[in-house]
Amino acid sequence: MDLLKIENITKRYSGHTALDNVSLSIPEGSIYGLLGPNGAGKTTLLRIINRIIMPDAGRVLLDGKEITADDVCHIGYMPEERGLYKKMKLGEQAVFFARIKGLSHKEATQKAKMWFEKFGIEDWWNKKVGDLSKGMAQKVQFIVNVLHEPKLLIFDEPFSGFDPINANLLKEEILALRDKGATIIFSTHNMSSVEEVCDHITLIDKSRNILSGNVEKIRHSHGTNIFEISYRGDGQKLTDTVAGQCTVMEMATSSIGINKAKIHIANDSDVRNVIAALNENVELRSFSEVIPTMNDIFIRAVECNV
């Protein structure tokens, strides 16, 4: 079931097209990564979903119906450049935003207190943003964003500015929110976080959606028939064995006697035959496919899109 569907969105600014006929659908209860190089149009897309700006063409459907201003109250949006009042006490700030999003004063206070405790920042309640570092302020921003328990959460570059410990905390909270049933969209350049957190991604480059889908599926479909093997035995023997079926790309020997090689199996060859042949001539310790990282896929896709 798709919670959010984006259909043929186009947005033009004077002089350039920020989004060109972009469509994607975001399954309910998933974490959806929006990837793309700087200036690709990610933030524009997030703003359109939030109705901050209107698209020139196309529509955004929430639960199958076109999104309305009231729906947006149920979205938690965290812009990349943080949106907090500098001179307002953090606690009051969290309560203020929660009330704007429709919570009662009492409810908002209660929930804000709970989240402050959860993040171990109860004693920040009376502090002001000006007194905090960027990363600390971001924690508060996160709380403001999730306080009203939105079913759709949108983060623009959530991990920028966080140290590894807090980035981890944030990751865990995002996963926990997903497990509670929230749908989460975030944009990022941080590819390792994509592999760890995202279920689905869309890669936007030059205003277009160039790659969309389930993270695991994408990675496997980008497999290039390259395998990594480790073995005991003579490297030359290995080369001879696979000649004709494979090309050896890399060879490495190690002092403890376990050698490594990277081979590319020709598309018409059967992997099983290769393994069988190898098994006879060297002592095979491991044999695994090299699945490209999201980072590789990202770079390759963007380069191919020139």
Partner: protein, 437 residues
């Protein structure tokens, strides 16, 4: 939606009222005003009593005898000739040389000061010499002193309001009205600029820290703008109300202690129903009339009500424009150019106000108090003169009607402006944004 405006107004109000600067200006301004009002009085009362000695070289031989020593000035006649006296008395405040022909030639008198000359002292000497010369002239023409005294009269008409029924026990003091006109229009001027710019800066701040982006998705831009304007307006009204209460309190408790006795006695008589024309407050008749005017609840009450209405209306009008400018720029520096067209009518109104005080019923006064951009300031300068009620009502109605038009336009600019970053817009851009769908 209404509720959301309420939350925004509440936030603006709370944040501003808790600021130290607000508390300080609210408390200090009336005190400062009081100090400014009473300082000259106190200074003259307690100013240094050191006497100034003046050596007098009287070549005429008849004038020096008329000079009277006061606490401030002591005259000491010297027989020395001028040249020697000037070196001899160089530790005196001054040497006064009265020429031989001073009676026939009033310019034949000279004051050689050893330090800087004080205006008050020179004035004192000048009037003493004048009197002395007058007396000598009277002797020459054989005029009796009594006759001179009788001739010396000064007529000050008591201005009274020409109303049918005499419910208006008090007089109307043009002096008090003009002081009120000054004070009221300056209050307007101050509030329009100070609080207007405050709205603009707070919009710029919200735009820069991206709060607007978080809000804009849930609150309509128009509601956001109105919430801010009304929030700041409520702070302004609170401040004015505190000042009014403060000044009223001062007037009730402090004034009775500093007024001259004959004025107090006269007020007592008036309270007992003695007609104003029968009351004598000596030379303080003007003061008495002023006090009566200010203690006339009907008069002061209507001024306060109109003040609040015009401050509120004028502020809304200007704040909407300031908000639009704030929404369009990224920094207060960029706002300079765009806010000039907003400042101009305010400054123009201030200049018009100065002429209005001299003639509150002139055509200039009438028209500028009707044109909505200048009307708050100019009208507040006219109201103390008790101009016809319909003019005030019409002016207020026009002001509020214009506010609705301006706020509509400003809302359109605001909606586009808050999401524009980077380039510095021109006035033309703002007008173009208004036409966006």
């Amino acid at each position: 939606m209404k509720n959301k405006i309420g939350i925004i107004i509440g936030r603006e109000f709370k944040e501003r009222v808790h600021k130290k600067s607000f508390i300080l200006t609210t408390l200090l301004t009336p005190i400062l005003m009081m100090v400014l009002m009473f300082a000259p009085m106190l200074i003259s009362e307690y100013s240094d009593e050191s006497t100034k000695s003046i050596a007098v070289v009287d070549d005429s031989g008849i004038i020096a005898q008329h000079l009277i020593n006061s606490g401030e000035i002591v005259f000491e006649q010297t027989p020395l000739p001028l040249e020697i006296a000037r070196t001899e008395y160089d530790d005196y405040y001054a040497i006064l040389h009265i020429g031989r022909d001073v009676v026939s030639n009033p310019t034949d008198a000279y004051l050689y000061t050893n330090g800087t000359a004080a205006m008050g002292t020179e004035h004192n000497i000048s009037s003493q010499l004048t009197m002395a010369v007058q007396k000598e002239k009277m002797k020459i023409y054989n005029v009796e002193q009594q006759v001179m005294h009788e001739l010396n009269t000064r007529v000050v008409p008591q201005s009274l309001k020409n109303v049918a029924e005499h419910e208006d026990a008090g007089g109307s003091s043009t002096m008090v009205a003009s002081v009120l006109a000054y004070v009221l229009s300056f209050i307007l001027y101050m509030f329009l600029i100070l609080y207007g710019v405050m709205v603009m800066q707070s919009v710029i701040e919200e735009k820069n820290n991206r709060v607007l982006e978080v809000l804009v998705s849930t609150v309509r831009p128009f509601d956001m703008m109105m919430g801010k304007i009304l929030g700041v307006a409520s702070v302004a009204l609170l401040q004015i109300t505190i000042w009014i209460i403060f000044i009223a309190g001062m007037a009730c408790f402090v004034l009775p202690h500093i007024l001259p006795d004959n004025v107090l006695a006269a007020m007592e008589l008036l309270k007992q129903g003695v007609p104003a024309s029968a009351v004598d407050a000596g030379g303080n008749m003007g003061l008495l009339q002023g006090i009566l005017m200010l203690s006339n609840i009907k008069y002061i009450g209507s001024i306060i009500i109109w003040l609040l209405l015009f401050v509120f209306g004028g502020f809304l009008l200007y704040a909407a424009m300031f908000a639009a400018v704030g929404s369009a720029v990224d920094s207060p520096q960029d706002a300079q150019q765009l806010q000039t067209p907003i400042m101009l009518p305010i400054i123009l109104a201030l200049f018009v106000m100065l002429t209005v005080i001299n003639d509150p019923t002139s055509d200039v006064a009438f028209w500028f108090s009707m044109i909505p951009l200048t009307s708050p300031i100019v009208m507040m300068a006219r109201i103390p003169y008790e101009i016809p009620m319909w003019e005030v009502c019409l002016s207020a109605a026009l002001l509020y009607a214009t506010f609705f038009i301006v706020v509509w336009g400003a809302g359109k600019i605001y909606r586009v402006g808050i999401l524009m970053h980077g380039k510095k817009p021109t006035l033309k851009d703002l007008l173009r944004w208004m036409r966006y769908k």
